[in-house]
Amino acid sequence: MGSRVEVLNDHGYRSDGRRQFELRDIGIDLSQQNFADGSAIISHGLTQVLVSVLGPREAKSRSQTIHDRANINVELNVAAFSTGERRRRSKNDKRILEMAAAIRSTFEPVIQTNLFPRSQIDIYVQVLQQDGGVLQTCINGTTLALINAGIPLNDFACAITCGAHSTSPLLDLSLLEENDLPHMTIAMLPKTGRVTLVTMETRLHVDRFEELLGLALEAGNVLHEEMKLAIDKRSRTLVAAMKITWPGVGEDLVEKDFDH
């Protein structure tokens, strides 16, 4: 084996042993954190993000209220120890503001803000670990946290990073790959197949774009299934805790109560 790490070797494996279109392990924890109305800890491989959603509630300052819909406020914090090299980013760091703006604009068409006029929805994102695909993880985590908070959405927003290694497209890039390859992050709405975010910081050949977009949409559907499963599981535990009947669950619990 050569000393150079190959992005994609002759046998079709990537540096971390994945195939070309294989996604990293997804971990979703929807249990309640701090005082948030809804929260989610999501990890794509080694990238881990905690999202807390508060609201809809009264805005801290009157100037931020909008008379006919809710204002979405996104604050992003990156842990100083989350990267390989320690770097403390202040709250007003350009990159952080940009990411926060990207998350905000992704969710502006997704959240039914018109239902909550003159209120504010706060989305606090805390990046705990970074290993590529931070924006993607933030967006997926935010979708889950919003659902967990019971805020009406038009659809899920599922985000994925994709890149091209010469002519072969790759999905869900790790940090190593992100540094070497042209890549973009896409957020899609699985029900309608629409795209709410396309962002890229590197140059990508236009011939590759269509193929990548198609793949990303497919990957988005896979993520949607995963997220739906997690939401379903969480709802079932909540229902079981409340002892309400729901087709399939909870009935046995209620019956037991009658026996007493």
């Binding site: 701090n34 005082f35 948030a36 080694l46 508060l54 120890f81 709250k91």
Partner: protein
């Protein structure tokens, strides 16, 4: 600056205070005055850090929120003594608070709070009496800079104690990479080679000359099976106990509501270098109010007793975590091989 992040009405405050002053005292969650809530601790939570820990207090079960939760992690950086480094390494501590932990604070108030907490943590932990001996790399040239970052993910009272526990656990968990110094040696046969034969041994000219600089110019990281050696003097890192004072009585581990109803708090940081001796590493009196000299003396004495209890159980848990992560992992590894 107000110390509490929630606002309580006067009636609520006096209700809590009256409960504390009752005989027997009543607290909202039914605890005795000197009892802590349940503490949970896990080390090694951040893979990219040299040491890390997550500590929470008062979280009941997995699916319930609330409780105070702090994640702390250490990261080591190589630093040249020419630009800012100090012989033997240095430590910098900083604290950041998640806005989700303080949903009612404005961002500038949050920044102030962060600053306050950072200063307390830094002044107590970065003191020279606690400084580990193995943070130097090359005498006179390079040393390690240890960054300790703590994030308050949620606060339901007593954030300082939890923060110090997390900091202690993260420092306990820290591994310093092994280094080997490299020096230039002239090729054999030339005149200067005679003087520098041993790689690591400094040729001693005079026993009284303390200005000797090592000849090493750079260092390398030898490949070794573990991540390095443990940070020296990890038993010494202090424990903080916050005594919440409602004049005749004091109580421990206040909840957020109790904190808002208590005006005066005394932070005491104790270090236990050996199990029988203790040193007081820091004292802070927070909040408006005054404390008589006599009362302070007796509080410091009682604080030591509480701190020792916390120290003993934390120590046991940390050793347990070490066992879980290293011995058990090793046994598992050797089984599969």
């Amino acid at each position: 600056m107000t110390q509490s992040s929630i606002s309580l009405s006067k009636a609520e405050k006096s209700y809590i205070q009256a409960g504390l002053l009752c005989d027997p005292p009543h607290r909202t969650d039914g605890r005795p005055l000197k009892a802590y809530r349940q503490v949970e601790l896990e080390t090694g939570v951040a893979h990219l850090a040299n040491g890390s820990a997550r500590v929470s207090i008062g979280r009941e079960g997995v699916n319930t929120g609330g409780g105070t939760e702090v994640v702390a992690a250490t990261k080591l950086e190589v630093e040249d003594l020419d630009d800012g480094g100090i012989e033997g390494g240095r430590i910098i501590c900083s604290v950041s608070c998640s806005p989700a932990a303080y949903p009612h604070l404005s961002s500038s108030a949050l920044e102030d709070l962060q600053q306050d907490m950072s200063i307390v943590l830094h002044q107590i932990l970065a003191h020279r009496t606690l400084h580990p001996t193995n943070l130097g790399i090359i005498r006179g040239k390079k040393s390690w800079l240890l960054h300790l970052d703590a994030i308050v993910l949620s606060d339901s009272g007593n954030a300082y104690d939890v923060m110090f526990m997390a900091a202690r656990a993260a420092l306990w968990d820290t591994k310093v990479p092994r280094t080997r110094s490299v020096e230039y040696r002239a090729p054999k046969g030339s005149k200067s080679a005679v003087e520098s034969e041993g790689m690591d041994i400094d040729p001693t000219v005079s026993g009284f000359d303390t200005r000797q600089l090592s000849k090493a110019t750079d260092f390398e990281l030898p490949d070794y099976w573990d991540e390095g050696e443990i940070l020296d003097g990890r038993e010494r890192w202090p424990i903080c106990v916050t005594l919440n004072l409602v004049p005749p009585v004091h109580y421990l581990d206040a909840t957020l509501q109790e904190e808002a109803a208590t005006h005066l708090r005394l932070l005491l940081a104790y270090s236990f270098p050996t199990s029988s001796t203790s040193t007081l590493q820091g004292v802070r009196l927070l909040g408006p109010g005054e404390l008589s000299f006599e009362a302070t003396k007796s509080l410091i004495r009682q604080g030591e007793k509480y701190a020792l209890e916390v120290f003993t159980s934390l120590e046991a848990k940390l050793r347990d975590e070490d066992f879980r992560r290293y011995q058990k992992a090793q046994a598992k590894f050797s089984r599969t091989r």
